[in-house]
Amino acid sequence: MSQYTQVREIVMMNLRSVPQRLGASLVIVIGIAGVVGVMVALLSMSAGLEKTLGGTGQDDRVVVTRGGSNGELSSFLDRASGTLIKQDPAIARGADGLPLASGEIIIITEVPRVGQKTGANVTLRGVEPVGFTIRPELRIVEGRKFRPGLREIIVGEAASNQFAGLDVGTPLRFRGSTWTVVGVFSTGGDAHESELWTDTETAQSAFNRSGYSSILAKLASTDGFEPMKERLTSNPQLNVDAKTERDFFSGQSGTLTTVIGVLAGFVALVMAIGATFGALNTMYSAVSARTAEIGTLRALGFGAMPVIASVMAEALALAISGGVLGALLAYVFFNGYSVSTLGSGFTQVAFKFAVTPGLVMQGLALSLFIGFVGGLLPAIRAARMQVTSALRG
């Protein structure tokens, strides 16, 4: 028999005998399913967050904030600067001839999460009417828009699911006055869906604030961004930073993604070490259960390689089934699971866990690695057995 046929026959024979060692074999499957499931689930959290923040914003929209501020919350622009920024020639103009630029104001409010008592920070964003023209992706999915001048707010879809008391028609109390939720909006699953929106001027008067937190402007063409940034930052009357809307939001997932990455890496590492010991145990006992069989094969003229291959194949097959099971569990239980966490703007960002194909591949790669390490030493032991003593069992 050729080496190849030897390998094929012995591997198939071995795999067919796995059900006889079911209990011990399941140790590998379950151990690895645990590792892969936990790792994929944790990483799907940061994948989901990146998807939400990275999917927020367009390249042809610009966010202007005060220079040196680390987000909209710590940015303050007075009314004069706001007007000056809006006059930049790179900004597109609407049908009425006015610039497509919305002065927006950020106020943090506290709204409890569903089922909790302590408040979570939620962004209340004041938007000028033109803000809706600039963001054509915004759709009102329930109720209607707020009316400028009235204390009315609309809430993002994610916010209305994550936080309590944000249904259409419910009154909300901020700073001694009562506001009414009049609608729910969707922006296609981006970060704005975690926010509450109202009219800029209403918010300014209610919260005793003048000026803006940021200016959102629509460019006539994306090429206009660099010259516009140059003009604004070099203008001695202004002290501002300008970023495209996409860069502005995708820059915000950094810290949290790192934290989750470190946590997932650490947990997966320790669990993987534990699972490797489990796999070694299983494969050693599988080899010792097959001692007589291996001895017989060797006596019949099978080489050492096919024996190694058969043990490795068993380990890898069990490992990959564990990996698939783990990834599947993570997908079934966590994909699309929505949560919210504190974003870099010090307010809540709601997002959904995203089990991506890339993460599943990572999980499967890890399972194969554990299977490889767990199978290697027992395979070598199997190959080194003395034929005569092995035949005795």
Binding site: L26, G68, S74, G176, N208, V270, M271, A275, N281, T282
Partner: protein
């Protein structure tokens, strides 16, 4: 106890298998220890904060500063002993990665409400009298090598000065320590004199931030909190008053349901290890059926043999758990100060309960097997 040797040799009859199982157990308990320590931190970590301090913040959000004129009104509420105020400064020292919190406070009022910070009289006097002064926690001072008299430049990402810049300079008046070990660990922050802060800032003059309220009687703190909030109801500055502990926990809860995540991981770990140890134990007993029969021949009762197997399962789980927990405990010491997790009593209790549950689940099936062994059948190899 006299059977310890017997149990031990039974357990290590197959050295390789038991050692590998032990290593898996160690890994599992390292994770269990560390993850539950994280949980302890988020669930009740602020225990040492006394119940006699309340935080009064704007009802909308603590980021909305309350005006200073509320201070005498809060002081007038019956049951209130002392009041101080605190404004988050948001300063960056040299590099944003050096982040540490700073609060602008009234020095005398800080001293009255936080007796946990200790510092010599001269330093307190300097802090109270010099308007551009700051006091820094011992941990911070050690980290950056600051000493009394140094001028520390901070670039605030929130507060602009009247001259349009955001570069603030603060002179170190003293270095404070915590009253005990718990507080010493927390001495990683900086207090700035409200004098220079309020005078220097371009906007927001006269705003205090949040108020820290010390009550006479900790048992009455809920009533006092309600009284304060009632006083400002329906005003433009509605307040929300809660215990300092609740206030701190609120921060952690903002991050999300960390408890849920941690418990999910812990149960995945526990389930895997349960299965692994269970298989290893029952394999061990199955291989030793004839030996156990011999024990019974020698006069061991059925129950005694069952007890031996259970004891073996317990010893295995106990050794793994102990080593894992010690390792977890040991490794928490090497974490940076920002992650003050500890394997406290609660974590050890959870580990203890896990050992018992694990022993029962992995030990009982093989123990029952051992109980039912018929001597004749076993010796005949049936």
């Amino acid at each position: 106890m006299k059977y310890l040797g017997l149990i031990w040799s039974g357990l290590f009859r197959k050295k390789l298998r038991t050692t590998l199982t032990l290593f898996s157990l160690v890994c599992a308990f390292v994770l269990l220890g560390l993850l539950q320590a994280v949980n302890s931190l988020f669930s009740g970590g602020a225990d040492f904060l006394g119940a006699n301090r309340l935080i009064t913040q704007a009802r909308t959000s603590f980021t909305q500063p309350l005006p200073m004129r509320l201070l005498p009104q809060i002081e007038a509420v019956p049951g209130v002993a002392r009041v101080s105020h605190s404004q988050f400064f948001g300063g960056v020292y040299q590099d944003p990665r050096n982040f540490f919190p700073q609060f602008a406070v009234n020095p005398q009022r800080l001293r009255d409400t936080y007796p946990e910070w200790v510092m010599d009289e001269d330093s307190w006097r300097r802090f109270i009298t010099a308007r551009n002064s700051t006091i820094v926690g011992r941990n911070l001072a050690d980290k950056f090598g600051w000493k009394v008299g140094d001028v520390i430049p901070l670039n605030s990402f929130i507060w602009t000065k009247t001259d349009g810049t955001r570069n603030w300079e603060w002179e170190v008046a003293g270095i404070f320590d915590g009253r005990n070990a718990e507080w010493q660990k927390r001495a990683g922050l900086m207090y700035l004199n409200y004098g220079q802060f309020d005078e220097g800032r371009a906007g927001g003059k006269g705003l205090a931030g949040v108020f820290v309220v010390m009550v006479d009687d900790p048992d009455a703190s809920e009533r006092v909190a309600a009284l304060i909030d009632e006083k400002f109801e329906n005003s433009p500055d509605e307040t929300k008053t809660q215990s300092e502990q609740e206030f701190q926990l609120g921060f952690a809860r903002q991050l999300g349901d960390i408890g849920l995540i941690v418990n999910l991981i812990t149960s995945a770990v526990f389930f895997s290890i349960l299965f692994l140890t269970g298989v290893s134990m029952s394999q061990g007993v199955r291989e030793r059926v004839p030996e156990l029969a011999v024990l019974k021949v020698l006069g061991f009762t059925d129950r005694a043999v069952m007890g031996l197997v259970l004891a073996e399962a317990f010893l295995l789980c106990f050794l793994g758990a102990l080593a894992g927990m010690l390792l977890a405990n040991f490794s928490t010491r090497f974490l940076p100060a920002e992650f003050p997790i500890e394997t406290d009593l609660r974590v050890w209790a959870i580990a203890g309960i896990s050992v018992v549950v694990l022993t029962v689940l992995v030990g009982v099936p093989p123990a029952l097997h051992a109980l039912r062994i018929k001597i004749v059948d076993a010796l005949a190899g049936r």
